[in-house]
């Protein structure tokens, strides 16, 4: 199909593209949140390292 | 096992005595039941044909909400004064104690609803066949509401504002009862057979009676810890 046909999706563009867009957005947000969480925890652990055997 | 049955009987007696000490409070869920049903003609339409059609759903939804409302404080008193911990640490199997407690609760909440429901049926212009079916579904369904609801209550026991959370947790589990009960009543109004629906409700009641006490006991132990 041509690029124009691809974007038009046989007239159903306003259903197909928001569907895919929403799915990718929501999943992308989940990934982003996960990556952000782990980098935050790593940063926190670097800042406040565990004290040695004094604990 | 004489000791066990005696203990269970004592528990039921105790629950009933405590309930009757707060006689006024017993009426609240019933009034709630009545109020919700009354709101529908006022809010939707008093047109008899419409009421007759929505009556099964209206009555059952009101019953679900009233059941939850009445269950909220099922374990609270015992939780707060330490009796619950004693029960959990005691010699008697907790699931059986749970059954006794819920049975007593049903006698003062579910059973009165069964007695009030025909009046509500008349308010909603239900034909006699439908009212009969409704009574049967309530008889089988309200125990399920009590047991499943009690599970939710046990799970949210220590929490403030547990009431809203309770509704969210328990409603999905109530949906099958709602579907089959209302359908049985609708089918009965149309003169159709309702054995299938009734068997399903009976199966759910048995399942609830046998399995939920274990889950409730587990939930109580978790909440008390």
């Amino acid at each position: 199909m041509t690029l124009e046909q691809f974007f038009d999706m046989g007239g159903y563009a306003r259903y197909v593209w928001p569907s895919y867009g929403l799915a990718l957005l929501v999943l992308g947000w989940n990934l982003f949140a996960a990556l952000q969480k782990i980098s935050q925890v790593k940063a926190q652990t670097r800042r406040h390292p565990a004290r040695g055997s004094q604990r | 096992m004489k000791g066990l049955f005696f203990a269970l009987w004592m528990l039921v007696r105790r629950e009933l005595l405590l309930a009757f000490r707060h006689r006024g409070e017993l009426a609240n869920p019933l009034l709630f039941f009545l109020m919700i049903v009354t709101l529908y003609p006022l809010g939707v339409s008093p047109e008899v044909d419409l009421l007759r059609r929505i009556a099964p759903g209206v009555i059952w939804i009101a019953a679900l909400l009233a059941a939850l409302f009445s269950l909220e404080n099922l374990f609270r008193g015992d939780y707060e004064d330490g009796t619950l911990e004693q029960m959990l640490l005691g010699v008697y199997p907790v699931p059986l104690l749970v059954i006794a407690k819920i049975l007593a609760h049903w006698l003062v909440s579910g059973l009165p609803m069964l007695l009030l429901a025909p009046l509500l049926g008349v308010l909603l212009a239900m034909p006699p066949a439908a009212i009969a079916a409704m009574e049967l579904t309530l008889l089988l369904g309200t125990p399920v509401l009590s047991f499943v609801g009690a599970f939710g209550v046990a799970l949210t026991l220590g929490l403030r504002r547990g009431g809203i959370l309770l509704t969210l947790l328990v409603m999905p589990l109530y949906i099958p009862v709602l579907i089959f009960a209302t359908n049985a009543i609708t089918a009965a109004s149309a003169g159709l057979p309702i054995e299938g629906q009734i068997y399903f409700l009976a199966a759910m009641a048995l399942l609830a009676l046998t399995l939920t006490p274990l889950a409730i006991a587990a939930a109580l132990k978790i909440s008390v810890s």
Binding site: M1, F6, M9, G10, G11, Y12, Y15, V16, P18, S19, Y20, L22, A23, V26, L27, W29, N30, L31, A33, A34, L35, K37, I38, Q40, V41, K42, Q44, T45, R46, H48, P49, A50, G52, R55 | F151, L155, T156, G158, L159, G162, L165, L168, L169, M171, P172, L173, I175, P176, I179, F180, N183, M204, L211, A215, A218, A219, I222, S223, S225
Partner: protein
């Protein structure tokens, strides 16, 4: 084999092992996703009845499948936690909850977007969508319960118990809703189940399923690593890590 699982339950081992796996899983997920999108949006031919709109199926069906698969996963792992008291099991459950709810939401939203051109309305009480909506309530209930209990241990066990009761109820709920739906069948029949699906349409569907599974594994493991690191940040093995 048991020894592997036993080792896996140890936080430092899990942390290092998952760290090695995650980049690979992520890369594979990305590849599968790109392949699936290409196959689904470009290669697969238009449907003779639904035209191009059926392509929504390639996100809707995998999302719905994952929503159910993750809930079952969460319930099974919760059982492990409740029986053997393995903390890592609870970590895995918590790491999956938001993603599971997200998949459910995606399934509902794409289902609605698929339904509008097909049935003319944004929402239709068809059996699958209704069951999916109830599944969303089950997820939200779990998340709400766990976040309202302060003690992490108690929250884990209460949440786990709720999941177990939920998973037992899912077939009952599904059956009830299916049955309810057949009584109130509208003029149109749901077209979400294609009885015989052509290979050119089946392939993108399967690829997207795999892509979503790999993606879920990646995200859950990242979340789990973060959770493990946070819980164990005071312990000796964390000190040894080069962060």
């Amino acid at each position: 084999m048991w020894r592997f699982f036993h080792k896996l339950a140890s936080p430092p081992y899990f942390y290092s092992l998952s760290g090695k796996f995650i980049p690979w899983l992520g890369a594979l997920a990305a590849l599968a996703l790109l392949a699936g999108l290409y196959l689904g949006l470009v290669v697969a031919p238009p449907d003779y009845q639904q035209g191009q709109s059926y392509r929504i199926m390639f996100v809707h069906v995998p999302a719905a499948w994952m929503s159910l698969a993750l809930y079952t996963f969460m319930a099974a792992v919760s059982a492990i936690h409740l029986i053997w008291n393995i903390k890592l099991a609870d970590v895995m459950v918590r790491s999956s909850a938001a993603l599971g709810a997200s998949f459910t939401f995606i399934a509902l939203a794409t289902g609605s977007l698929w339904g509008k051109p097909m049935w003319g309305t944004w929402w239709v009480w068809d059996a699958r969508l209704t069951s999916e909506l109830i599944l969303l309530f089950l997820y939200l209930g779990y998340i709400a319960l766990v976040s309202s209990i302060e003690d992490r241990r108690v929250a884990a066990r209460a949440g786990g118990l709720l999941l177990l009761v939920g998973v037992v109820n899912i077939p009952i709920i599904h059956y009830s809703v299916e049955w309810w739906n057949t009584l109130h069948q509208g003029p149109t029949v749901t077209r979400f189940d294609k009885p015989a699906i052509h290979l050119s349409m089946l392939t993108p569907l399967l690829v997207m399923m795999v892509a979503f599974k790999l993606f879920a594994a990646t995200v859950i493991l990242i979340n789990a690593r973060a959770e493990v690191l946070e819980r164990e940040r005071r312990s000796a093995w964390v000190k040894e890590l080069e962060l």
